[in-house]
Amino acid sequence: MTRVVGTSRPKVDAHAKVTGQTLFADDLFLPRMLHCKILRATHPHARILSIDASRAMSLPGVKAVITGKDVPIRFGILPVSQDEEALCVEKVRFVGDPVVAVAAVEEEIAEAALDLIDVVYEPLRPVGSIEAALGIEQDGHGHGGHVLDAAAPRRPIHDYGDGVRLAAVAGGDGAGGDGVRLAAVAGGDGADGDGAGSGHPDIHKLIALEFGDVEAGFAEADGVREDVFFYQGSTHLPMEQHAALAQATPDGKLTVWTSSQTPHYVHRALARVLEMPPARIRVFATPNGGGFGGKSDPFSHEIVVAKLALLTGRPVKICLTRQEVFYCHRGRHPVLMWVKTGYRKDGGITGMHFRSWLDGGAYGSYGVASAYYTGALQTVTYHVPRYKFEGVRVFTNKPPCGPKRGHGTPQPRYALEVQLDKIAEELGLDPAEMRLRHLVPANSTTANWLRVGSMGLGECIRKVVEASGWKARFRKLPHGKGIGLACSSYLTGAGLPIYWNAMPHSGVIVKLDRGGGVAVLCGSVDIGQGSDSVLAYVVAEVLGIDPFDIRVHTGDTDLTPIDLGSYSSRVTLMTGKAALQAAERAREIVATSAAKKLEAPVERIVFAEGRVFDAQDPDRGLAFDEAVRLAEAENGTIACTGSYTPPRGAGRYRGAGVGPSPAYSYSAAVAEVEVDTETGIVTVPKVWIAHDVGKAINPLIAIGQVEGSVYMGLGEALMEEMDYRENRNVVHRQPSMLEYKSPTTHEMCDIETFLIEDPDPNGPFGAKECGQGPLLPIPPAVANAVYDAVGVRVDEVPLSPSRVLKALKSGEKRYGPERVPAMAWPEPIRVPTPWEGGNGEALPEGVGWGERGEKEAPLGGGAREAAAVPKRGRRPR
């Protein structure tokens, strides 16, 4: 029985937010503060020949100008992708790449100074699409293929990545342990006409994994479908523009306030680039005015203001313009997908082969993880006995993509859920019934070795089917109106940290004051999702006090123990578990002292309603503050720590690090649509959504997260699009909030939300995530509803009016990509599934499914007859 957890109540920071008292990064002003502006690249891909800032330096009011030479050390969020420069050193890689920074006494002077800086570029051939990055310059499908500035020299965008390693393999100089697998690719598709053996140097990451023999799965199937999908990129569009303020003090210390979701990673990047001991740097993450993943990378501007503060001895602030926020991006990757699924007559899946092509933009960012995520979670909803995933992320000369709400999973989820709708249609099955028959069981391990704990998807489906009147309406509504269903799952926190270490992912200190005050310290960052409140609720629950009696201090790398940040939906579970441990330790100290005073056994001591009392005689007790004083007199200062490290994942193969999580949330949604066949405009009057949250720590906040996810999913489904003028130097078409269409009140649908509570043993009080997962089913539910309404398939997101119209006018009653790039994939890492007696490890390199019996110990009862080695080769067009 809980008193705080599970009740709806205002967030602990709600009153500060509604009075305008919350101080966001740009609301900070320090004495003698300078303002910073950044000059950004005007070419998508070019060498920097010279920079002359002398005229800017002599402008009155300008205090410092820096270029890449002042901050040359590369950084990046992932250890494997340290490819960014705070200011570009030798070349620029997208329109908007930072080149020169100015600090001046006024923002306007800094801005004027930018006009006085002369940068001479040598343009290089820009790469504007997946196809172009792969050296396929044929006409693509809306998102690729144009020959860009063909006269300019073609150079690789980066000097690292799997493409560069491939070229080295083809050139004969070997490339580490991947040599054999990669050589297959290097030899497979040949050069792109730009020099012998150059391969595809703009390939950032290539992945090939196979769990069980997928071809054998297809051989067992009653039917096999192949579909191609494209999911357009979109951006986070947080209302708050990124801002940062830095102050250097004469004792050699540096403080940076920044609107970041990940102060710990900013801390590390600052230390690296500035070559300062981390102990001298303090990073405050200010409350984020919306994040959604867009403030999860260490950014150029954070390093730049720190460097300028160190150089000038004065505080330096920057607030990005909205246009610059579009350039920072790190949003949803555009992903082209091919999925081949074998199925039985009852809709059960016999095997799935999934391929994804990610347009990564100009830098690595989280992209290696994003690429793995496009293949990771296909297996946690419906049973997939054999599964193969191949993925490639390419560099292009566009703003870098990264993690946006759902990180790498909404795209494959869209493909999977729309394809299942098509399979149900082929089989004449109700898509809801079909899904219900084949759910992954709770407490099981998937083909790719993800451990599923609690699993409430069945209940989610039943809830939205009932609430939406599904059975009476599906395929029964008049032409133009339709209803569609889709499901999804998401992580509750990544199982592994971003850089390898054995330390906790989250730490909390609970400090009790003799006045009865309780301070909770944690490195997490409230980005609007309510993470500060969750900390207060958990501690208040354990100590039996009101959450408003707790002060929560977060996001300060000096005072608060590390939390890795507000990403991967990890905060409620991980900080919640750490807070629970810290609070229980504090409670134990107070309870022990109180028990002596009350002459009762410690097991009988209860903390509730601001009192500490004997359960058998509730009148015998102490006020909470009195109990704290007793305990402090006995023990000294009371400050307890708690920490949390996720359980180890089950997979032992290379690539097993992406996908494992302490718990998976589940969602099911039904969308109702109206399609105007004259204009192609899709409107969505209502969405029913059920979300398996494990346990809602605060149902009000949880429902708010679900509604916000539906909203953002609706934007992606209908209108949001990062679109570029590929044939005009890859310039962003609409770096403004007016032209980047996002849903206003007029486009927003009504939502009926159901929280399904199936407590997960790994979550604090059973809680799982709710901030990202509920976005995922919306785009496929809308697409499936459009089919129900007008009988056309739109296999491309967003379902903008032009796409819907094209589908309505097409002979095939479909709009979407028709082919995928021909390319040879590397030999997959082959991992036997749990039901084939696997142990999570990969077969030795070069060992096929049919050969492994000779080299491996005999396998369990699930082992099949030996099957042929799968053909490695090109995708047929």
């Binding site: 709600a14 305008g20 009000l700 708010g704």
Partner: protein
């Protein structure tokens, strides 16, 4: 809008002028260059940072303040234009420590998540309720259509406006 109080010589546009602006019921003397926007003067000169900005191009509604009770985008208004008018920002909504019913309802119903668009939306909602004490859902949708919010999906905002309206009518009755 009334006639400008001053005729500005374009050759002197970078020079600061001293004016008294009436903001949240107080007369505040402030010196600013005539090209400065009301948003800039409120935030940077008067340090009323409760007013936020999302684009500074009039696209997002975040910087909404009231001028004589009507919502204006402070990023598109010159501070000069506010002279002689009553400006209300989010700091002026509460009476002393007593929150405005809209603020209470927004906190209570979870209508503010990150809270960044909240000041602008509160003021747009106040303008609506001051002129229409019992707005329909459609009227609320229309009144807030110029204010983007990326967190909430707007639904909790509608509910909070409706709750505040109900409470304000109760007080007025």
């Amino acid at each position: 809008m009334a006639e400008p109080l001053l005729q500005i010589d374009p050759r002197r546009e970078d020079e600061k002028i001293l004016l008294t602006l009436r903001v949240n019921g107080e007369d505040l003397p402030v010196a600013f260059a005539t090209h400065e926007t009301l948003l800039e003067v409120l935030r940077e000169d008067l340090r009323l940072t409760g007013t936020k900005h999302g684009c500074e191009l009039g696209e997002c509604g975040t910087c909404t303040v009231l001028m004589d009770g009507r919502p204006v985008l402070s990023c598109l208004a010159l501070a000069l234009e506010a002279a002689g008018h009553e400006v209300t920002t989010v700091e002026g909504l509460a009476e002393g420590s007593r929150l405005h019913p809209l603020q209470e309802a927004f906190a209570e119903l979870g209508a503010a998540q990150c809270g960044y668009c909240t000041p602008g939306i509160l003021l747009a909602a106040k303008a609506l309720l001051d002129s229409e004490p019992s707005p329909s859902r459609e009227r609320i949708v229309a009144a807030l259509a110029g204010n983007l919010c990326r967190c909430t999906g707007y639904l909790k905002i509608y509910e909070a406006v409706e709750l505040a309206a109900e409470r304000m009518r109760g007080v007025a009755a």
